[in-house]
Protein backbone atom coordinates (compact mmCIF):
# COMPACT_ATOMS: atom_id res chain seq x y z
CA UNK A 1 0.00 0.00 0.00
CA UNK A 2 0.90 3.65 -0.03
CA UNK A 3 3.36 4.84 2.56
CA UNK A 4 2.00 8.36 2.75
CA UNK A 5 -1.56 9.58 3.07
CA UNK A 6 -3.58 12.65 3.84
CA UNK A 7 -6.11 13.02 6.61
CA UNK A 8 -8.82 14.80 4.66
CA UNK A 9 -9.67 14.57 0.97
CA UNK A 10 -11.16 18.07 0.82
CA UNK A 11 -10.66 21.42 2.53
CA UNK A 12 -12.73 24.56 2.05
CA UNK A 13 -11.10 27.79 3.14
CA UNK A 14 -12.21 31.40 3.21
CA UNK A 15 -10.01 33.71 1.19
CA UNK A 16 -7.50 35.39 3.46
CA UNK A 17 -7.60 32.67 6.10
CA UNK A 18 -4.75 30.28 6.76
CA UNK A 19 -4.93 26.71 5.43
CA UNK A 20 -3.53 23.63 7.08
CA UNK A 21 -3.19 20.40 5.12
CA UNK A 22 -2.14 17.28 6.96
CA UNK A 23 -0.34 14.14 5.92
CA UNK A 24 0.58 10.96 7.79
CA UNK A 25 3.36 8.63 6.73
CA UNK A 26 4.18 5.14 7.85
CA UNK A 27 7.82 4.61 6.89
CA UNK A 28 9.88 5.80 9.82
CA UNK A 29 13.02 5.45 7.68
CA UNK A 30 11.87 8.15 5.25
CA UNK A 31 14.32 11.01 5.16
CA UNK A 32 12.88 13.48 2.70
CA UNK A 33 9.35 14.81 2.17
CA UNK A 34 7.92 17.07 -0.50
CA UNK A 35 4.66 18.94 -0.93
CA UNK A 36 3.27 19.31 -4.45
CA UNK A 37 0.44 21.43 -5.81
CA UNK A 38 -1.56 20.19 -8.79
CA UNK A 39 -3.93 22.50 -10.60
CA UNK A 40 -6.57 21.18 -12.95
CA UNK A 41 -5.09 19.96 -16.22
CA UNK A 42 -1.50 20.37 -15.06
CA UNK A 43 1.20 18.21 -13.60
CA UNK A 44 2.26 18.43 -9.94
CA UNK A 45 4.34 21.47 -9.08
CA UNK A 46 6.96 21.50 -6.31
CA UNK A 47 6.02 23.74 -3.37
CA UNK A 48 8.42 23.01 -0.54
CA UNK A 49 10.46 20.15 0.88
CA UNK A 50 11.83 19.13 4.25
CA UNK A 51 14.43 16.65 5.39
CA UNK A 52 13.94 14.36 8.35
CA UNK A 53 16.59 16.18 10.39
CA UNK A 54 14.39 19.30 10.38
CA UNK A 55 11.14 20.12 12.20
CA UNK A 56 10.10 23.16 10.24
CA UNK A 57 10.84 24.89 6.98
CA UNK A 58 9.40 28.10 5.64
CA UNK A 59 8.91 29.39 2.13
CA UNK A 60 6.92 32.19 0.64
CA UNK A 61 3.51 32.01 2.39
CA UNK A 62 4.05 28.31 3.07
CA UNK A 63 5.42 26.43 6.05
CA UNK A 64 5.99 22.70 6.37
CA UNK A 65 6.09 21.07 9.78
CA UNK A 66 7.43 17.60 10.42
CA UNK A 67 6.67 15.59 13.55
CA UNK A 68 8.72 12.42 13.41
CA UNK A 69 7.37 11.15 16.73
CA UNK A 70 3.88 10.65 15.30
CA UNK A 71 5.01 10.46 11.66
CA UNK A 72 3.01 13.46 10.60
CA UNK A 73 3.68 16.44 8.40
CA UNK A 74 1.60 19.44 7.53
CA UNK A 75 1.56 22.25 5.02
CA UNK A 76 0.41 25.64 6.18
CA UNK A 77 -0.57 28.28 3.65
CA UNK A 78 -0.83 31.82 4.97
CA UNK A 79 -3.48 34.24 3.72
CA UNK A 80 -4.98 31.74 1.27
CA UNK A 81 -5.71 33.16 -2.15
CA UNK A 82 -8.02 31.97 -4.97
CA UNK A 83 -4.93 30.85 -6.88
CA UNK A 84 -4.20 28.38 -4.09
CA UNK A 85 -7.21 26.29 -5.11
CA UNK A 86 -5.73 22.97 -6.22
CA UNK A 87 -5.00 19.42 -5.10
CA UNK A 88 -2.10 19.17 -2.67
CA UNK A 89 -0.01 16.02 -2.34
CA UNK A 90 2.60 15.05 0.15
CA UNK A 91 5.27 12.77 -1.20
CA UNK A 92 8.02 10.75 0.34
CA UNK A 93 11.37 10.20 -1.31
CA UNK A 94 12.80 6.84 -0.42
CA UNK A 95 16.51 6.29 -0.40
CA UNK A 96 18.57 3.56 -1.91
CA UNK A 97 19.84 3.69 -5.45
CA UNK A 98 16.66 4.84 -7.16
CA UNK A 99 15.22 7.54 -4.85
CA UNK A 100 11.62 6.57 -5.57
CA UNK A 101 8.91 9.21 -4.99
CA UNK A 102 5.70 7.90 -3.36
CA UNK A 103 2.63 10.13 -3.33
CA UNK A 104 -0.32 10.24 -0.98
CA UNK A 105 -3.91 10.52 -2.25
CA UNK A 106 -4.17 14.32 -2.13
CA UNK A 107 -6.30 17.02 -0.53
CA UNK A 108 -8.46 19.24 -2.71
CA UNK A 109 -8.37 22.81 -1.42
CA UNK A 110 -11.18 25.14 -2.45
CA UNK A 111 -10.87 28.83 -1.64
CA UNK A 112 -14.15 30.68 -1.03
CA UNK A 113 -14.30 34.32 -2.04
Amino acid sequence: GESVGLHLPTLSVQEGDNSIINCAYSNSASDYFIWYKQESGKGPQFIIDIRSNMDKRQGQRVTVLLNKTVKHLSLQIAATQPGDSAVYFCAELSGGNDYKLSFGAGTTVTVRA
Binding site: F46, D98, L101, F103, A105, G106
Partner: protein, 113 residues
Protein backbone atom coordinates in the same frame (compact mmCIF):
# COMPACT_ATOMS: atom_id res chain seq x y z
CA UNK B 1 13.77 27.27 -19.53
CA UNK B 2 11.30 25.05 -21.39
CA UNK B 3 9.44 22.56 -19.24
CA UNK B 4 8.66 18.91 -19.78
CA UNK B 5 6.63 18.45 -22.95
CA UNK B 6 4.10 15.68 -23.47
CA UNK B 7 1.85 14.69 -26.33
CA UNK B 8 -0.88 14.10 -27.02
CA UNK B 9 -2.72 15.92 -24.23
CA UNK B 10 -5.84 13.81 -24.62
CA UNK B 11 -6.53 10.42 -26.14
CA UNK B 12 -9.68 8.33 -26.35
CA UNK B 13 -9.42 4.73 -27.49
CA UNK B 14 -11.44 1.55 -27.29
CA UNK B 15 -10.34 -1.35 -25.13
CA UNK B 16 -7.90 -3.72 -26.78
CA UNK B 17 -6.53 -0.92 -28.95
CA UNK B 18 -2.97 0.37 -28.69
CA UNK B 19 -1.76 3.81 -27.70
CA UNK B 20 1.56 5.61 -27.35
CA UNK B 21 2.57 8.67 -25.38
CA UNK B 22 5.59 10.85 -25.98
CA UNK B 23 7.69 12.84 -23.53
CA UNK B 24 10.47 15.36 -24.08
CA UNK B 25 12.24 16.12 -20.78
CA UNK B 26 13.97 19.30 -19.77
CA UNK B 27 17.25 19.63 -21.63
CA UNK B 28 20.12 18.05 -19.77
CA UNK B 29 17.98 16.05 -17.35
CA UNK B 30 19.38 12.55 -17.11
CA UNK B 31 16.53 11.02 -15.14
CA UNK B 32 13.08 10.52 -16.63
CA UNK B 33 9.97 9.12 -14.98
CA UNK B 34 6.57 7.93 -16.13
CA UNK B 35 3.71 8.03 -13.64
CA UNK B 36 0.12 6.86 -13.82
CA UNK B 37 -2.44 9.00 -12.01
CA UNK B 38 -5.89 7.51 -11.66
CA UNK B 39 -8.67 10.00 -10.94
CA UNK B 40 -8.72 10.96 -7.27
CA UNK B 41 -5.35 9.38 -6.50
CA UNK B 42 -1.77 10.48 -6.32
CA UNK B 43 0.65 9.67 -9.12
CA UNK B 44 2.13 6.17 -9.10
CA UNK B 45 5.56 5.54 -10.56
CA UNK B 46 5.55 3.19 -13.55
CA UNK B 47 9.14 3.40 -14.72
CA UNK B 48 12.32 5.38 -14.10
CA UNK B 49 15.13 5.87 -16.60
CA UNK B 50 18.66 7.03 -15.97
CA UNK B 51 19.88 8.21 -19.38
CA UNK B 52 18.79 5.36 -21.65
CA UNK B 53 18.80 2.64 -18.99
CA UNK B 54 15.93 1.45 -16.82
CA UNK B 55 16.47 2.00 -13.09
CA UNK B 56 13.09 0.84 -11.79
CA UNK B 57 10.17 -0.73 -13.65
CA UNK B 58 8.80 -2.80 -10.78
CA UNK B 59 5.35 -1.17 -11.01
CA UNK B 60 5.06 -1.39 -14.80
CA UNK B 61 2.51 -3.99 -16.02
CA UNK B 62 4.93 -5.49 -18.48
CA UNK B 63 2.39 -7.73 -20.15
CA UNK B 64 0.82 -4.65 -21.74
CA UNK B 65 2.97 -1.62 -20.98
CA UNK B 66 6.35 -0.83 -22.49
CA UNK B 67 8.59 2.21 -22.43
CA UNK B 68 11.82 3.21 -24.05
CA UNK B 69 14.31 6.03 -24.04
CA UNK B 70 16.64 4.90 -26.78
CA UNK B 71 18.86 7.97 -27.08
CA UNK B 72 18.62 9.05 -23.47
CA UNK B 73 16.45 12.08 -24.26
CA UNK B 74 12.86 11.61 -25.47
CA UNK B 75 10.79 8.73 -24.21
CA UNK B 76 7.69 6.87 -25.32
CA UNK B 77 5.25 4.86 -23.23
CA UNK B 78 3.06 2.33 -25.00
CA UNK B 79 0.02 0.36 -23.92
CA UNK B 80 -0.95 -2.68 -25.97
CA UNK B 81 -3.70 -3.77 -25.59
CA UNK B 82 -5.47 -1.20 -23.45
CA UNK B 83 -7.94 -2.11 -20.73
CA UNK B 84 -10.69 -0.01 -19.18
CA UNK B 85 -8.69 0.31 -15.97
CA UNK B 86 -5.87 2.02 -17.88
CA UNK B 87 -7.98 5.19 -18.02
CA UNK B 88 -5.83 7.72 -16.22
CA UNK B 89 -3.50 10.66 -16.66
CA UNK B 90 0.00 9.63 -17.65
CA UNK B 91 2.58 12.04 -16.32
CA UNK B 92 6.16 12.36 -17.41
CA UNK B 93 8.72 13.98 -15.12
CA UNK B 94 12.44 14.64 -15.35
CA UNK B 95 15.23 15.62 -13.00
CA UNK B 96 18.94 16.31 -13.33
CA UNK B 97 19.65 13.21 -11.23
CA UNK B 98 17.61 10.74 -9.14
CA UNK B 99 17.78 12.62 -5.83
CA UNK B 100 16.96 16.01 -7.31
CA UNK B 101 13.63 17.80 -7.68
CA UNK B 102 11.35 16.29 -10.30
CA UNK B 103 9.67 18.53 -12.85
CA UNK B 104 6.38 17.28 -14.23
CA UNK B 105 4.82 17.69 -17.63
CA UNK B 106 1.11 18.47 -18.12
CA UNK B 107 0.22 14.82 -18.65
CA UNK B 108 -1.78 12.87 -21.19
CA UNK B 109 -5.34 12.08 -20.22
CA UNK B 110 -6.25 8.63 -21.55
CA UNK B 111 -9.83 7.42 -21.71
CA UNK B 112 -10.43 3.77 -22.60
CA UNK B 113 -14.00 2.96 -23.59
Amino acid sequence: EAGVAQSPRYKIIEKRQSVAFWCNPISGHATLYWYQQILGQGPKLLIQFQNNGVVDDSQLPKDRFSAERLKGVDSTLKIQPAKLEDSAVYLCASSPAPAYEQYFGPGTRLTVT
